[in-house]
Subunit: 899 residues, 2 copies
């Protein structure tokens, strides 16, 4: 016989209690050890569930049955009542409880052990309350029928409901079922259960218990539980524990009830208890939602209804609960969410676990706990979900009232579907959103309604507006999921995607593609133009937390920022420089596009010199602005990386104008543009490849960068990033070009401009020959977006059709490789490249500037690889700072070997 099953608090404390007993079992065990009022019971460990599921048989193993019976005997002794006793029966709850919380996904059966025979004993024990005893039996029948026998829960509920309707009478006043009605209900439920398998609810209490345990184990593999684990990426969990605990009854009378207490406010993080309470109820009644719970505390009460709070109705019990909660929070060093039941005005604790909390509360609580001496700084840093900070920091606009006072009124109003403010250019379809966003612009997607095909466009957009739909429409749900400000149901807006405009007929307003608007997803208003945005409501604890993070992280954090405004925002959020400035948006101005087009389409190379000079001068101006905004912090500018075709006009009239200005026939221009079109533009004539075939265009960019830095009085060498490098010969070529341009600027500057030339490592081959490329490079930056595309052969634009099946449904990949770094594939290439590049240059600076640079698990990988900095979007800077600290702490404590 294997190890005996231990009652709560029995034996030595387990180091790995949560892993072995689940969150619930471990919590109960801990509470018992603390001497808190926990109904006695025991937990069947998770590995028993695993073994049972592997056996794939309906009955439990005899060995396990024997150990359960043994534990039960000790429980009987502790309580002083016997399981199945006709006079004073011990009833138990049988509950699931995994090592990772899966709320509502697994099953529970209460009142196990009750039979027709012991029903009367139960009534007698409770002052002859037959209604209570019958209702308990009714609950057991319903739960056992559904959970253990698999009968539809709603079918069983319908039987009860019929009697409730009868009891309500013609006046339809909801009333508790009387004794007679309950007799009828339990008769009918018994019959229904018996009809299922010829047995129904076993009248042997032990058989009830064993069946209940088996059912709880099996609930681990129910379709909805499997789905939940997939969607939450719970991959290495193996089963649920099963807790068997003496029943306490919150449903007996007015001095009983069930509730939840959270030790601090879960939204604001304030230090005061918060909770809900339902009198005359078991915990399950709260979950079922048939009755609405009341607030626990007066502070939360609806004005004028304070009397209904537990704090007022049972002040002593409330005070006791708060005292117990304090003990638990201090013990666990974290905010607890505590389930309790009151019986006869006495509180019993049924579960405690770390409370779910808002991003805001998480930060405040972590910092407060450190200040209260309940938590170490490092533990506090590890406790906040770094990714959540992005949401927390989403900027907003002033409220409509404040704005109205300044004469700013919305162009249209809708429902506030996802909070925060977003500013951008209007686009009317997902493709345009993706395209413009790829150009580094910020866009607002405006649709009548959205559908799954729009999701890629929604991801690319800063904000989303729909004319139709409500708060649960596709647009609203997806926008909230993405954390994008959104307003929906904006009925005043007529959206005409064909004409590429949206109209507000009431005011005659016409919004066209490219027009700048501000979306206030907090109030549900749409404004024309870019409104001043204020940072999210300040949270001083965040600064404290990030300050601690900065002291502990090794990785530096820079921003991907393409203009002075973004750089300034990034600096205010703690960016230590610019890791990636994309030069493309600087080309997308009315003034410069014609220049670059004329260069790319020129019949005669000599014609292009003037255009290149003009281009250089105006680029230098923008770049100087950017360098100034960096305030002396380092700036890396990436040379032109887009397929050339994307720089060509698509509208026919624009093409005609271009043909005229170039002195080409329209047909000739079409042919020239057609030649730029590519079958697989992602792998086409891009980046350094164009630098080699069209050097003039790249020399102009290099000069513009050097001039911009010089004009801004930038104190550091300008960093120039060469995209799409696949061979050291490319870097050698670019070094020569850059050296020549730098030399030619010497007379103008009165000294040789200093710069550093870096390779953007975004192709598998670049990783494989990194040692040679490093020898020709001053620094490396991993472009993990493109590297993910080529390593996996997934085009970001085209993978929508199968990525869901891959990442979630079939678990072929561990999530979306474009948001979490694919460690085994892409990560291995990074590891090869880092190791070998540093073989040729031990002090080579290596960074990551793909979107993974702002994602915590990917930042962890960067720490493991020993990179020097990550670079991410400005909004993600705080998250990256925190994640970098978490990675550094994790590295120090576990120090895993690199793969």
């Amino acid at each position: 016989m294997a190890e005996a099953i231990r009652l709560f608090g029995e034996g030595e404390r387990l180091e790995d209690a949560v892993a072995r007993l689940g969150v619930k079992g471990a919590g109960l065990d801990a509470m018992a050890r603390l001497g808190l009022p926990v109904p006695p019971g025991f937990t069947i460990p998770i590995d028993e569930c695993e073994r049972a599921l592997a056996r794939d048989a309906r009955d439990l193993e005899p060995d396990l049955v024997a150990r359960i019976d043994d534990a039960l005997a000790r429980l009987e002794a502790r309580v002083g009542r016997r399981f199945g006793d006709a006079e004073a029966p011990l009833l138990v709850s049988v509950r699931s409880g995994a090592a990772i919380s899966m709320p509502g996904m697994l099953e529970t059966i209460l009142d196990v052990g009750l039979t027709r025979e012991s029903l009367e004993g139960l009534a007698a024990m409770h002052g002859g309350d037959r209604v209570f005893a019958l209702d308990s039996y009714r609950r057991l029948l319903q739960m056992f029928g559904h959970v253990a026998l698999g009968i539809s829960g709603s079918e069983l509920e319908a039987i009860v409901e019929e009697e409730r309707l009868l009891a309500a009478g013609p006046e339809r006043v909801a009333k508790p079922l009387g004794e007679e009605a309950l007799e009828r209900v339990v008769d009918r439920l018994e019959q229904r259960l018996r009809r299922h398998d010829g047995v129904g609810l076993p009248m042997d209490p032990r058989a009830q218990l064993h069946a209940a345990v088996g059912a709880v184990f099996r609930s681990w593999n129910s379709p909805r539980a499997v789905r939940y684990r997939k969607s939450e990426r719970i991959v290495d969990a193996r089963g649920t524990a099963c807790t068997i605990q003496a029943m306490v009854f919150g449903n007996r009378d007015a001095r009983g009830g069930s509730g939840v207490l959270i030790t601090r406010h879960p939204v604001s993080g304030e230090r005061r208890p918060y909770g809900e309470y339902l009198s005359r109820a078991q915990g399950e009644d709260v979950v079922a939602g048939l009755r609405t719970p009341e607030p626990l505390c007066v502070a939360e009460a609806v004005p004028g209804r304070e009397s209904t709070t537990l704090e007022r109705s049972e002040p002593e019990a409330f005070a006791e609960l708060v005292r117990l909660a304090e003990i638990l929070e201090a013990h666990f060093g974290d905010v607890q969410e505590i389930e309790f039941t009151l019986e006869d005005g006495k509180p019993y604790l049924l579960q405690t676990r770390p409370a779910k909390r808002s991003a805001r509360a998480a930060v405040k609580i972590a910092v407060d706990l450190v200040r209260e001496g309940r938590l170490s700084v490092e533990a506090a840093l590890l406790r906040v979900d770094a990714a959540s900070l992005e949401r927390l920091l989403r900027p907003r606009v002033e409220s409509p009232g404040v704005l109205a006072a300044r004469g700013i009124v919305p162009a249209a109003k809708g429902l506030p579907a996802s909070p925060g403010a977003a500013i951008g250019e209007i686009v009317f379809d997902a493709e345009a959103a993706i395209r413009r966003a790829a150009e580094g612009r910020e866009v607002i997607l405006v649709r009548r309604e959205t559908s799954p095909e729009d999701v890629h466009g929604m991801k690319a957009a800063e904000g989303i507006v729909t004319a139709g739909g409500g708060l649960t429409s596709h647009a609203a749900v997806v926008a909230r999921g993405l954390g994008k400000p959104s307003l929906v149901g904006c009925a005043a807006l007529e959206v005409d995607p064909t004409a590429r405009e949206a109209r507000v007929p009431a005011t005659g307003l016409v919004l066209r593609e490219g027009d700048l608007v501000t979306v206030d997803g907090t109030s549900g208003a749409l404004y024309v133009g870019a409104l001043p945005v204020v940072a999210a409501s300040t949270l001083p604890e965040l600064d404290t937390l990030l300050g601690w993070a900065d002291e502990r992280r090794r990785l530096r954090v820079r921003a991907n920022a393409d203009n002075g405004r973004q750089v300034a925002l990034a600096r205010s959020l703690g960016a230590e420089g610019v890791g990636l400035c994309r030069i493309e948006p600087m080309f997308f101005t009315e003034e410069r596009l014609p220049e670059i087009r004329s260069v790319l389409l020129a019949e005669d190379l000599e014609d292009t010199e003037d255009a290149l000079e003009r281009l250089e001068t105006s680029l230098a101006r923008d770049l100087a602005h950017l360098f100034r905004a960096a305030e002396g912090s380092p700036v890396a500018v990436r040379l032109l990386d887009w397929p050339l075709h994307e720089l060509m006009p698509s509208a026919p009239e624009e093409r005609e104008a271009l043909a005229r200005s170039l002195g080409l026939s329209p047909a000739r221009l079409e042919r020239k543009i057609a030649k730029l079109r590519e079958v697989n533009p992602m792998m086409g004539h891009r980046g350094v490849r164009v630098a080699i075939t069209h050097p003039g265009l790249y020399r102009a960019q290099i000069r513009a960068i050097l001039r911009g830095a010089h004009e801004a009085g930038h104190p550091l060498p300008a960093e120039i990033l060469v995209p799409m490098v696949s061979a050291e010969g490319e870097m050698r070529h670019l070094r020569r070009m850059a050296a020549e341009e730098a030399a030619s600027l010497e007379p103008l500057f009165g000294g040789r401009p200093s710069y550093r030339l870096g390779a953007l490592i975004e192709l598998p081959r670049a990783c494989l020959v990194a040692e040679a490329i490093a020898a020709e490079s001053d620094f490396f930056s991993f472009g993990t977006n493109d590297l993910t595309q080529t390593t996996l052969g997934f085009s970001r634009d085209d993978a929508g059709g199968f990525l869901k099946a891959y990442g979630i449904d079939l678990g072929i990949l561990d999530g979306d490789p474009f948001s979490r770094l694919d460690r085994r594939g892409v990560g291995r290439l990074l590891s090869i490249a880092t190791r070998e590049a540093r073989q040729s240059k031990p002090d080579l600076v290596i960074a990551m500037c793909g979107e993974h640079g702002g994602e915590p698990t990917s930042i962890d990988e960067c720490e493991r690889l020993g990179l020097d900095y990550v670079s991410c979007a400005p909004h993600r800077i705080p998250a990256a700072r925190l994640a970098a600290a978490q990675a550094a702490i994790a590295q120090r404590t576990t120090s895993r070997p690199s793969p």
Copy 2:
């Protein structure tokens, strides 16, 4: 002082003579050792050139000068005349000679040592022949002026030409220059040279010599030499040797002359001497092409002009030459190309090297030499360029005469630009050629004329036809380079790419895209329809050679073949099975396309079941045919791999018909097709990804393969290749699918069908997680085409714009990575994948089926990696067999460690 410079034949024989002394220097040294009549001289080794070029100074190092002078003193002693002696001067030739032959790329100066002073002595030595002496001086002035001083050669030649015109007189009869004319010429040349640098030709013979040596060294880095080395991929050569040799004079009188003798016929390989001879000439006159040489042997003589051959005019000298040549061939064990000069009827040998030869001759000679006992089998195998066999084996059609007798006449005639016969469907542009070829079809590209943008299409085509152009047109040159049958200047043809047709107005014939034609590039004829093709003229020696290769190779060779006809051809060429059958062409039939389209576009999945069943049955029929053609050899069939969009119709009328047949509105169909379109189709929803999202379509294919093999009575397990694998979960998924289909066929077959499921490894990630994929796979096949695309991020379709700059002009890559495997990038991934896959499955069969599978250097890589087989196009099978043997021999002898 470094090592002394050795006279020819002096000291010990050098093991690495060619590497140190160049081909010429080593040949002269060897001939001297054999006691053959070689004018004495010495060779300055290659490393001296390397050192001199590194010094980058015009003058030679004093140390080298001293050693040259020392060697010259020994040469004087050997000859018995003094360099610069006024009475009987020793003159020398100063010639370049690299370790790898670079014909005509490097420089030579003859008659070095001659001065105004010694000119009279030279005349006296040769019976007072002042004309001879002056002409020699004239040669020296011209060559020194051009090579050492860098004066334009044509400017100097113009001076001579003026006098020649004068001498020719009004009748314009070409005459040798007389004494007076030569006096004027040398005066003018001397002045011109002096004007160049104030010195001109030094009158110190030693200064002449040193300047000549320096000039020869510098010629290594002349632009044309650098270009040549790039284009020939000569990468690790470091410089040229310089040979200084006593002059013999073929230009003195009628008993003198210069020529070349090749020991066997360089085109047919027959064992008889072959050569050319120019009397009264130096070797340089032959090269200059001012006079046309005569055949050496009577057998080659123009009928009726036998008397002019050396064999007839100087029979003794001829016999002596043949005797010397025999000695040399026997000594070197290879056909020699020997340069010689006759002076006074006595032959002197000036150079010997392995003769260039046709592919046909190479094979015959190699086999003959083995039979004659002059060469080992292994050496013979290494001596034939494997890639050349493809050309040799190109099939042909019967001659126009034979065909006319059968009533088959050409539809149009043109110039025979590149020999061989090709059959295929007409396409009118490069894109269509690439697209259809990617579909596994054979196409003939028909253009008015071609330009560099067409080259990718030409590569994809089987044959090329142009209406314009001559034998040196772009189309002709490129077609010959590619070894593609081609006819150009087909003036009868009117090509209309817009209408996608070509017309022959004279006959009213209209050829449309997709029409089948036969191109006879040997006779220059275009035929309508597919003519019977006969194998290239048989060469029994080839069978012998390949038989030897088969005995010595370890790698097996299979064919990429998509239908029974191709399989039969491949078998006849020695294929040991089918390594890659693409299933796509089987879908491209009028009967099946509608079925697959209806499956892909179905509104309701149940509707597709009938279509899938019909598809399965007809695919099984084709596959049975293929399996039968394999005659019991193994067959691997790849599941559908193309982007789905490529299976949709493009013509509007076809789309309308499709919409009708599916019961969809045309607009709805357009939307559905538009959804299949991808931004980067190469990295889109393809291969196994579609298998996972559209399992029905892939289950049908798996069933069809199993049924085809079963119907054909195929004795081996059918091999099923899964394309685009990136994760082991994909293979696990497909294994399950295949197992289910196999089980379901069991009742039908009366037994479980056996099969093996292989992963097509064509993505970087697949290589990086190969160990895990191997655990789920029965075999691996590397798809190096796609792997090259993703590893380098080069789309094959789009890389044309920069690949030339990369592969050749700038040397960034070592050639085109799509024809030669990129060893450092792609090769490294193969190495990782092979090593790690075999860690999980030591006996895993691993193959390569990309186009590299037929390319010798890539096959060498496969041997090094220990792969099991390569698979290539049928035409390349013999080349692959030979290359595999060469790789095995090379591995045994050098056994390099893998990187």
